[in-house]
C-alpha cells in the first residue's frame, strides 16, 4: 500500500519533473548528439539548429496561449502558407511602383502582420461568437487557407521577384552579434510571450479560462474577448514566423508549412503545457521546439537510425513526455 508520505513526495517530484524535465531531455539529447558526432556542438551546427527551431518555436509560443486558454489552433501551417503566398504576390506587384528596395519588403511584412492578425481574429470570432468548437473551426480554416495558396499559385509555386529576394535575403541569412536574425526574433517573441503569460492580467485570465470557464465568467473576465485575443496572438506569431521564413526559399507553394500545426502543438505539450488548458509554460514550449529540431538534426548527423524515422522519434518523445508529466498515474489513490 502506498502511504501518504510517498504519495506526496511522488507528487512533489513529478511537479519538479514537469519544470526541469524538458530541460533535462534537451541536455541528454545534446550529449547523445555530441557522443555520436562531436561536430554536433560546432558553432555552425548550433546556429543552424537554433535558426531552424525559430519557425516552430515562434508559432508554438502563440499556440501556448491558445492551448492554455482551453482552445486549439490547427490552421497555423496553412495560415503560414497563405500569408507567404499573399505576401509574395503583394511584393511582386509593388515592384513597378515602389522598386525592389527595403520599402517593398516592409510593405510585404506589414501586410503579413495584418493578415496574421485578421486570420487569427477569424478563428477566434468563430469559436467565441459563433460558439463552434475550436477544433472544428480551425480544421475548417486549415483547409481554406491551404486551398487559397494553391489557388493563388495556380497549383504550382509562387516565387519572389529576384531583386527583392536580394534585398530580403539577409533577414534569414545574416547575423547580429553572432546569432542569425531569426534567432533574435525567436528570442524576442519568447520573452514577450513569457512576460505576457506570467506577468500580466491577460496571462492570468488565459489560465483561468482554461482551468474553468464558468469560474472565469463569474470572476468578471470577458471570456470571449480573451479567447479571441489568444487566436490573434497566434496569428501574429504565425506572421512573424512567415516573415523570417519567406527569405529562406523566396517562394511559397501548397507544401509550405505542412504539418507545422502538429509540430507546434507537440512543442507546447512536450514543454509541459496541459492540452486541456489551465496551465501553460512558455519556457517549456521553447525547450519543446528545440527538442523537436534537435532530434531531426541528430538523425541527419548519424546513420545509426535512418533519417526517415524522424517522425517516429518525435512521436516517441511526445508520448514519453506526456507519460512522465502525468502526475496522477502513480498515485491512483488520492482521488
Amino acid at each position: 500500500m502506498v502511504t501518504s508520505s510517498t504519495e506526496t513526495t511522488a507528487k512533489r517530484s513529478s511537479i519538479d519533473f514537469k519544470t526541469i524535465g524538458p530541460a533535462l531531455a534537451l541536455l541528454i539529447l545534446c550529449i547523445i548528439g555530441f557522443l555520436l558526432n562531436p561536430s554536433f556542438v560546432s558553432e555552425g551546427n548550433l546556429t543552424n539548429l537554433l535558426t531552424r527551431s525559430a519557425f516552430i518555436g515562434i508559432i508554438a509560443v502563440g499556440a501556448t496561449f491558445v492551448i492554455t486558454a482551453g482552445g486549439i489552433d490547427l490552421s497555423v501551417g496553412s495560415m503560414a502558407a497563405a500569408i507567404s503566398g499573399v505576401m509574395i504576390i503583394i511584393m511582386n506587384n509593388a515592384v513597378d511602383t515602389m522598386g525592389t528596395g527595403v520599402a517593398t519588403v516592409l510593405l510585404g511584412c506589414g501586410c503579413a502582420v495584418v493578415l496574421g492578425i485578421g486570420a487569427g481574429w477569424i478563428n477566434g470570432a468563430l469559436t467565441t461568437k459563433g460558439k463552434i468548437e475550436a477544433f472544428i473551426v480551425t480544421l475548417g480554416t486549415m483547409g481554406i487557407y491551404r486551398s487559397l495558396v494553391t489557388y493563388f499559385a495556380d497549383g504550382g509555386t509562387l516565387s519572389l521577384n529576384f531583386d527583392i529576394r536580394g534585398t530580403y535575403r539577409p533577414v534569414y541569412y545574416d547575423s547580429f552579434l553572432g546569432l542569425p536574425y531569426p534567432v533574435w526574433v525567436f528570442i524576442g517573441v519568447a520573452i514577450c510571450g513569457w512576460l505576457l503569460l506570467n506577468r500580466t492580467a491577460f496571462g492570468r485570465y488565459c489560465t483561468a479560462i482554461g482551468s474553468n470557464e464558468a469560474v472565469a465568467r463569474y470572476s468578471a473576465i470577458n471570456v470571449d474577448r480573451v479567447k479571441t485575443l489568444t487566436y490573434v496572438i497566434q496569428g501574429l506569431c504565425v506572421s512573424f514566423a512567415t516573415i523570417i521564413y519567406v527569405p529562406r526559399l523566396g517562394s511559397a507553394s501548397a507544401s509550405t508549412g505542412v504539418l507545422w500545426e502538429l509540430e507546434a502543438i507537440a512543442a507546447v505539450i512536450i514543454g509541459g503545457t496541459v492540452l486541456k488548458g489551465g496551465y501553460g509554460r512558455i519556457g517549456g514550449t521553447i525547450l519543446g521546439a528545440l527538442i523537436l529540431t534537435t532530434i531531426g538534426n541528430i538523425l541527419n548527423f548519424t546513420d545509426l537510425i535512418s533519417n526517415y524515422l524522424n517522425g517516429t522519434m518525435q512521436g516517441l518523445i511526445i508520448i514519453v513526455a506526456v507519460l512522465l508529466q502525468r502526475s496522477d498515474w502513480k498515485l491512483g489513490k488520492s482521488k
Binding site: S4, T200, R204, A208, S211, A216, Y218, S219, S334
Partner: protein, 507 residues
C-alpha cells in the same frame, strides 16, 4: 477502550487512525465505529478532518497509521471507490456525477444491466424510475445531469447509493444544498435505510438536524477525537461548544436599526429574464436585504441577470440613482456591485489553482501596475484575507480543491470582497460552514452594513434570514410574493409567501 466493547456490533471500525498529507498531519489517532442500523453523525469545525476521515473509511485515502476493521477483521480497503463492492458507499462533499450523462446512466455507471451482451436500457430505466418515484423526485431517468439543480443532483447521488445495496452509507454534508422540505424527504429515506439495517455515517454543520436524525455523534476538533456520545445526551449548543472548544456567544449579531430613509443604491423595476417574471424592489445604503423562497424560485436568476451573468429580457436597473443599462460582470464590479455564487466548485473557485490567484482573480485590475501584476500586493492581499476571514489552510501552498469545504467558502467570500464592493450579493453565505464560522460571517455582514455597504443575502436557511436581515423579500416561481419587515419576519410568514398561500398585492 470504549471501542472494544462495541466491536461485535460494528460493521466497520476505524482504529487509531492518523493521517498526514506529506508533512502536514490532519488526523491524530481517531477512532470511530459504525453499527448496523444506526445513524452516526460526525461533526467538527471546518478543516477538522471530517471529510478526510470519511475518505479513509471508504478507501479513497490510506491512513498513515492505524487500521480499518470490517466485520471485526483488519482490512485494507481497495482504492478509488472499489470499496463499493464491500458494501461501503461514499457520497462525496463535492458531488461526483458524470455531468454529460443521464440520470440512469449515472445510477448504473460501472454496473450496467445487460441482456445478451447488450445494455438493457428498458430494465435500467424502469429501475431508476422506481427509485425516483420512491423518493418523490420529479425528474426523468433520461435527464442529463448538467441540466439538474444542485439539490436534484444530490438526490441522484442518494438514489445511486441506494441502488448499490450499501451496508455502510457515508455521506459528506448531504443536506448542505437541500431546503428544509427536501431535507425532510431525504431524512425519510435515511430512516428507511437505517431500518433495513444499513449503517449510516453523515457529516453536517446543521446541528439541529444532527440532533434530530442521529443515534450517536462523534465530535472532532483539529484532527483529534473529542468524544462519541448518544444523541439524547447532547444538545445543539453543547455540540457547538465541544466542536469549537469554547463557549459560543450569540450566533447572530445585535440587529442594528435600519435607516429607511437612506439613499436607494439599487432600484430594480419590472425585471424580466429567464426564470424571472417582472421583479421590482429597492435596496438602501447600509441595508441587509434577505431573499427567501424555495430552491428554483428565481432568487439567483434575479441577481445573475442584474450582474450581467445572464441576459435580461426587459425592465430597468438603477445603480446609485443612475440607469445602469445592461452591464457586464466587470461593469457591475467597477460600479461597486459584486455577486458571490452559491456554486463554489463550478463557478466560484479554480480548484486546481492555489489560493493566491483565486483570491485576486475577481479584482485583478486593481493589482495591475505598469501592465504587470504586482505580486507583492497580491501576497499582502492574501495575508490580509487569511487573517480577516480566518481561512485555515495548514499549508498555504496547496491547491484550493484540497482546502476543506468551509475554508473554500471563506476564500470565496474574501475573493469577492477584494474589490471593495458597495453592494454585495451573497448567495447562500454559509453553505457548508461550521457554527463558529457562521457566527463570524454574520458579524462580518453586520459590520459591512454598519459601514454603509448594502448586502443582499439569498438563503434557504430560514434562521439566518430571520437572524440578520432588515427586510426580507420572498419569491415564488420567478415573482416576488411579499416583502416583510420588522416583526413580520418570521418563519411562518416567510413560508406562507414562499408556498404561495399568501400574496401581497404589489403596486
Amino acid at each position: 477502550m470504549q471501542m472494544e466493547t462495541t466491536a461485535q456490533a460494528a460493521i466497520i471500525e476505524a482504529v487509531n487512525i492518523s493521517k498526514s498529507f506529506g508533512p502536514v498531519p490532519v488526523l491524530f489517532s481517531v477512532s470511530m465505529d459504525v453499527r448496523s442500523g444506526e445513524v452516526h453523525a460526525l461533526i467538527g469545525e471546518n478543516g477538522a478532518g471530517k471529510s478526510t476521515l470519511m475518505k479513509i473509511l471508504s478507501g479513497f485515502h490510506d491512513p498513515t497509521s492505524g487500521q480499518i476493521r470490517l466485520d471485526g477483521k483488519k482490512t485494507d480497503l481497495p482504492p478509488n471507490g472499489a470499496a463499493e463492492s464491500l458494501g461501503i458507499v461514499l457520497i462525496h462533499q463535492e458531488l461526483n456525477l458524470a455531468e454529460q450523462m443521464t440520470v440512469e446512466e449515472n445510477v448504473f455507471l460501472g454496473r450496467e444491466v445487460k441482456s445478451k451482451g447488450l445494455l438493457d436500457k428498458a430494465a435500467m430505466r424502469a429501475a431508476v424510475q422506481g427509485y425516483l418515484d420512491e423518493i418523490g423526485l420529479d425528474i426523468s431517468p433520461t435527464d442529463r445531469i448538467s441540466d439538474l439543480t444542485i439539490a436534484q443532483k444530490q438526490m441522484v447521488e442518494i438514489v445511486k447509493a441506494v441502488s448499490r445495496n450499501a451496508r455502510i452509507l457515508i455521506m459528506d454534508e448531504p443536506t448542505a444544498v437541500l431546503t428544509e422540505e427536501e431535507t425532510e424527504v431525504f431524512f425519510r429515506q435515511v430512516t428507511k435505510l437505517k431500518e433495513s439495517g444499513v449503517g449510516i455515517v453523515f457529516v453536517s454543520h446543521k446541528l439541529n438536524e444532527v440532533k434530530a436524525i442521529s443515534d450517536r455523534i462523534t465530535i472532532l476538533r483539529d484532527g483529534q477525537w473529542i468524544d462519541t456520545r448518544h444523541a439524547q445526551d447532547l444538545t445543539p449548543d453543547l455540540m457547538a461548544q465541544m466542536m469549537v472548544g469554547r463557549e459560543l456567544s450569540d450566533l447572530y449579531p445585535p440587529m442594528q436599526e435600519a435607516d429607511f430613509d437612506a439613499d436607494l443604491v439599487l432600484e430594480v423595476d419590472n425585471l424580466v429574464a429567464t426564470g424571472v417574471n417582472g421583479v421590482s424592489f429597492g435596496l438602501r445604503k447600509g441595508e441587509i436585504l434577505g431573499f427567501s423562497g424555495l430552491i428554483g424560485s428565481g432568487r439567483t436568476a434575479v441577481f445573475e441577470a442584474i450582474c450581467g451573468l445572464a441576459p435580461t429580457d426587459g425592465g430597468t436597473v438603477k445603480l446609485f440613482g443612475r440607469d445602469a443599462g445592461t452591464m457586464t460582470v466587470a461593469g457591475a464590479r467597477d460600479a461597486g456591485l459584486a455577486y458571490l455564487t452559491k456554486d463554489r466548485k463550478e463557478k466560484g473557485l479554480l480548484l486546481d489553482k492555489k489560493m493566491q490567484p483565486n483570491l485576486t482573480l475577481f479584482a485583478l485590475p486593481k493589482f495591475v501596475k505598469n501592465f504587470a501584476i504586482d505580486r507583492k500586493r497580491e501576497e499582502a492581499a492574501l495575508e490580509r484575507a487569511i487573517r480577516r476571514f480566518d481561512v485555515r489552510a495548514k499549508d498555504n501552498d496547496i491547491t484550493v480543491g484540497k482546502l476543506s469545504g468551509g475554508n473554500q467558502q471563506k476564500l470565496l467570500l474574501a475573493k469577492i470582497m477584494e474589490c471593495d464592493p458597495k453592494i454585495v450579493v451573497i448567495d447562500e453565505p454559509t453553505r457548508g460552514i461550521d457554527v463558529g464560522t457562521k457566527q463570524q460571517i454574520y458579524h462580518f455582514i453586520a459590520a459591512l452594513a454598519a459601514e454603509g455597504v448594502s448586502v443582499v443575502v439569498i438563503s434557504s436557511e430560514m434562521p439566518e434570514i430571520i437572524g440578520i436581515c432588515h427586510r426580507v423579500v420572498v419569491m415564488r416561481e420567478g415573482s416576488i410574493t411579499g416583502v416583510l419587515t420588522g416583526d413580520h419576519i418570521n418563519e411562518n410568514e416567510i413560508m406562507r409567501y414562499a408556498a404561495g398561500l399568501k400574496r401581497e398585492e404589489l403596486h
